[in-house]
Every structure is written in structure tokens, then in C-alpha cells.
């Protein structure tokens, strides 16, 4: 499905791996994947809003991170593997 034109999707590179880890960890209480992430990487700056991380292609390390009305796609094989392992 396509987005409407007025929904501008953020650039793929907007979220770095480290930023993704911080954001994911902030949702540790609600998100299964976040449990696999190190607690010390969470930051107060990340806030309390939950987010959704979707590993769309574990083999290629493709992850969609959805927070608010935004979706950022990252490619990180190691991180995808850790999340995947957490879901076993």
C-alpha cells in the first residue's frame, strides 16, 4: 500500500543503530524485543512513548521502527539477529 503524498517518510538513514537501540530500550516495559537490549543504553531523553520495531527481513537485517506517525527503516544484521534471538 502506498502513502499519500503529504505524508513525507523520513530518510532511511535518519535513525542510527545507536539511536535505534536507545529508543527501543525506552519501550522495554511494553516491547518484547526491547528486553534483549542493554538497560544501560536507555536514556531519559528517549521518553515514555512506546514504539514498534518490525524485523521485516531478518536475513538482510531490515528493521522498521515506528513511533508516533513516523516510520524509519534501518539495515543492521547484528541488531536484527539479536532481536530475532530474543523472540525465540
Amino acid at each position: 500500500m502506498r502513502q499519500n503524498r503529504y505524508e513525507e517518510e523520513p530518510a532511511v538513514s535518519e535513525l542510527t543503530r545507536r539511536g535505534f537501540v536507545k529508543s527501543s530500550a525506552a519501550a522495554a516495559a511494553g516491547m518484547t524485543v526491547a528486553g534483549a537490549l542493554r538497560a544501560e543504553e536507555a536514556s531519559a531523553e528517549a521518553g515514555q512513548e512506546p514504539l514498534v520495531a518490525y524485523v521485516s527481513d531478518p536475513g538482510k537485517g531490515e528493521i522498521s521502527v515506528m513511533r508516533g506517525d513516523r516510520e524509519v527503516r534501518v539495515r543492521d544484521k547484528k541488531l536484527a539477529a539479536r532481536i530475532y534471538d530474543a523472540g525465540r
Binding site: 512506546p50 514504539l51 513516523r70
Partner: protein
């Protein structure tokens, strides 16, 4: 129906199911255009205790293309929130609802209206109240007053309404989905029975409408006031849609995240219903009008045009021999009608193939409107936009049967039946208002009569 339950996925998601779209020059206020979009098909009026309402997790959208590229230059976004006064009762209301802030009304809805103009979002109003559903004389004794109070007057001459209305679309569903039977002609059908009048199966059902009346100049590409029907700036394309968040987490309070993803859309009536085949319907609902060229083949060779000669043997001999691509349908449905085809009229938006309800805003309202619209000589009616009472089923049946093919090939002679096709219904099958929001007040659950066994 027009677009009720028309595709497999959206038929399971009625809150987001876009059922009808109307766009017309407001007859009592001809410097404005009214756009109405309906959702939630076939609301049984007695459907309590949780009566019908908009989805708080759905974004309802009206889009306007004013430069012919199949993309929205202007959008109106409706986003709803539900407020519960008393969670300790199962009742929708604990006494008569005599105002929109009645303490007896437990479950109210409000909405935020945003206008998007070339990507810039501007909130026009927040916490606008919806009316309740029409329950019955004990709960909603003065329903018309409640509905009137839910017509909000905004700055710049805009009016807006969101809430339950009486279904305005009339159609003989039971017959049409029984192998294309049209009761007035069923003596000629392959499963012949005596001809009989049509039955309006949507009669008495409700829908939920979003309706907006805006000055014409707020919709044109350059802010001009459309006066000349031949001027391309006078024509807009309109479609509506519903979108949901890309991700949903259920349980524990739930959560939605990610961008809005379109799950339903509607421009011209009956397109996803009849033109688009089962395997493509869900994709069509998610696609942008700008990408509709991918569906061109279904318009050029509509399945129904091939079925009519089979279902009505001997009635459509010329249609049976018509194998050429239907350029007439492509023009009417995907580009608008260019100048020079119908004297004094055009609603052409350019070469981009896109499903939109095209309205030439310089055509004034008709003093004597004909439900059959343009093919009946009434240029203020469908397919120049669509008024609430227009008989779009008959118009599209006749077009598909070949009645409009001579517009692009003067050597073709339509079958005599082509210009007579109808399911036997008309605007007197339901009722409307003479003023905004034009669709009639819904009947109450108490008034409901059971379907015949």
C-alpha cells in the same frame, strides 16, 4: 453497492469502509461546493447498545486534485475521539438526549478537522461535536434539532458535519447480485421471471457521513472564482479515503504507531464494485489515484459489458460485437470528458488516468435537476460531480451497455435497451434534505421494521 463491502479486506473493516462520495455545487449557496463522504455500510438503526460511530483509530480523508496530476493539492482530514461520561452502565444513554452536551448521553464523539494545502497542515477546528445515533422517541425525541446543532460554522464560510445520516444511495442489491438481474427487465433475463418493480434494499439503513461545504475559491488552483465552464481551472477532482496506522498492538491498552496507510478509497461510484476484479480490489483500495493506469485494462474491457449479452440473450447484439477498447469509459471515468464532446461542457483534468469524481464548478446548480444527470441534459449532475439523488446505477449501467460509445465512435449504434437500463429505482426511494448536509435524518431504531421473512 456503490462501494459498500466492495472488496474482501475492507468488507471485514466496516468502520473504515468508504461507501459513497458526493461533490456538487451547493444548490442554495452556489458560491460553495459541498463534499460528502460516507462510511460504515448498512447500519441497522437498532444496532445498540453500542450504536455505530466513527473509529478513533481511523483517519477519514477528503482529497482535492486541482491541477490534474491525480495527487491531492488540498485535503481535509477528520480525526475522532470518543469520550465516555459514565463507564459504569451498559447504556448508550441514561435518559433523553436533548442537547449535544446532555449529561444523559454517555458515549459522545468529537473530531478535529485539518486542512492540508500543498503539504501544509492547518487545524481548522478541534473538539467539534457529532450528533448521537437516532435511538428512538424515548432517547432522541427531537433528533432533527440534535443534528442541526452538529452543523458547525467555521471561519471563512466553511460548514462541517460528521455523524449518522440516512443512506441516500438506492439500489436493488438483492436482484443485481443474483446474476445481474434487473427486475424491470427480468422477463428477458437468462433465468426469466415476470418483470417487476425494483426493490431498494438500502432503504432505512444508516451510514456515517463526513460533510463539508467550502467556498469554491478555496478549492481552485489559484484561488480564483470559477465562472467559465471551458476554463480548466474550473474543474476539480475529488476522492475520499480512510487510513489506519501501519502497526497495531492489541491488548494491554493497545497501541498504534507508524504512518497512516490507506485502506479504503472512493472517487467514481461502483468502480471497485464492478470494474475492478476480485484479485485487484484490495490493491485498488490501497493505491493512489495517480497510479490508476495500472488498472486501465479493466476500464477498456469491463467484465460487465461482456456479461450483459450473455445474461440477456438477444437483447444486446451490438454490444456483443463491440470488442474495441472502451475509450468512452476511459474518458468518463479516468480523465473526465474533454471539450467538444458534449456541447458547452467539459470536466477534463488532463492525460493522467485517475479515478476521481470530477466537478466543473462553473456549471451552476440546475433549477430542474434530472437524476440521470448529464446524459439527460442536466450538466449539473453526474458525472459532473455527483448529487445525493443522482441515479448513478442507471447511468453507469447504460454507459457500460454501450450508450456512450458513440461519443468516441459515431459509426456505432447502441442497442435499443442500452439507453433504457435501470434497476427500477429513483430518488423517491429514500429522502433527502434541501440544505446542508443534504442526506436525510436517519430513522430511529424504534422505527425499524423487520425485513420480510
Amino acid at each position: 453497492m456503490s462501494s459498500h463491502r466492495e472488496a474482501p479486506a475492507i468488507s471485514k473493516d466496516p468502520v473504515a469502509d468508504n461507501t459513497d462520495l458526493y461533490a456538487f455545487v451547493s444548490p442554495e449557496d452556489p458560491d460553495t461546493v459541498t463534499i460528502i463522504s460516507n462510511f460504515l455500510p448498512l447500519e441497522a438503526p437498532f444496532g445498540g447498545p453500542n450504536f455505530f460511530e466513527f473509529g478513533d483509530d481511523v483517519r477519514y480523508e477528503i482529497h482535492i486534485d486541482n491541477d490534474g496530476d491525480g495527487r491531492p493539492e488540498i485535503s481535509y482530514l477528520f480525526e475522532f475521539t470518543t469520550e465516555v461520561r459514565n463507564p459504569n452502565t451498559f447504556l448508550y444513554n441514561v435518559g433523553p438526549i436533548d442537547s449535544l452536551d446532555s449529561p444523559n448521553w454517555n458515549r459522545r464523539q468529537f473530531y478535529k478537522l485539518t486542512r492540508v494545502d500543498k503539504g501544509r497542515h492547518r487545524v481548522l477546528a478541534s473538539h467539534l461535536a457529532c450528533p448521537p445515533c437516532n435511538i428512538g422517541p424515548g432517547s432522541t425525541p427531537h433528533y432533527r434539532e440534535l443534528a442541526k446543532a452538529a452543523v458547525h460554522h467555521l471561519a471563512g464560510g466553511t460548514r462541517v458535519f460528521a455523524g449518522q445520516r440516512l443512506e441516500g444511495f438506492y439500489i436493488d442489491l438483492g436482484a443485481i447480485f443474483d446474476l445481474g438481474d434487473l427486475r424491470p427487465f427480468q422477463n428477458l433475463h437468462i433465468a426469466a421471471m415476470a418483470a417487476s418493480p425494483g426493490v431498494n434494499d438500502s432503504n432505512g439503513f444508516g451510514v456515517h457521513s463526513i460533510a463539508i461545504k467550502v467556498p469554491k475559491r478555496a478549492l481552485t488552483r489559484d484561488g480564483s472564482r470559477p465562472r467559465n465552464p471551458a476554463d480548466p481551472r474550473s474543474v476539480i477532482g475529488v476522492w475520499s479515503a480512510a487510513s489506519r496506522r501501519r502497526a497495531t498492538i492489541r491488548g494491554s491498552g493497545g497501541h498504534q504507531a507508524g504512518p497512516w496507510v490507506q485502506v479504503s478509497r472512493l472517487g467514481m461510484p461502483l468502480i471497485n464494485e464492478v470494474i475492478i476484479p476480485l484479485g485487484a480490489k484490495d490493491d485498488w483500495n490501497g493505491a493512489s489515484p495517480a497510479d490508476d493506469s495500472q488498472f486501465l485494462g479493466y476500464y477498456r474491457h469491463p467484465e460487465l459489458a461482456g456479461l450483459l449479452p450473455v445474461l440477456y440473450p438477444g437483447v444486446f447484439p451490438n454490444l456483443a460485437k463491440l470488442t474495441a477498447a472502451r475509450a468512452d469509459l476511459v474518458a468518463i471515468l479516468l480523465t473526465g470528458i474533454p471539450s467538444g464532446i458534449v456541447p458547452g461542457f467539459q470536466n477534463f483534468t488532463g492525460s493522467t488516468l485517475s479515478d476521481q469524481l470530477r466537478l466543473n464548478m462553473a456549471i451552476p446548480p440546475s433549477a430542474h435537476p434530472k437524476p440521470i444527470g448529464l446524459i439527460g441534459g442536466d450538466a449539473a449532475g453526474f458525472p459532473n460531480g455527483r448529487r445525493v439523488f443522482d441515479d448513478v446505477t442507471s447511468v453507469e449501467l447504460r454507459a457500460i451497455a454501450g450508450a456512450t460509445y458513440p461519443l468516441v465512435n459515431s459509426s456505432y449504434t447502441p442497442d435499443a435497451a442500452a439507453s433504457l437500463l435501470t434497476d427500477g429505482l429513483g430518488p423517491n426511494s429514500t429522502r433527502y434534505l434541501r440544505h446542508f448536509p443534504y442526506l436525510g435524518d436517519p430513522i430511529s431504531g424504534y422505527q425499524t421494521k423487520p425485513l420480510a421473512a
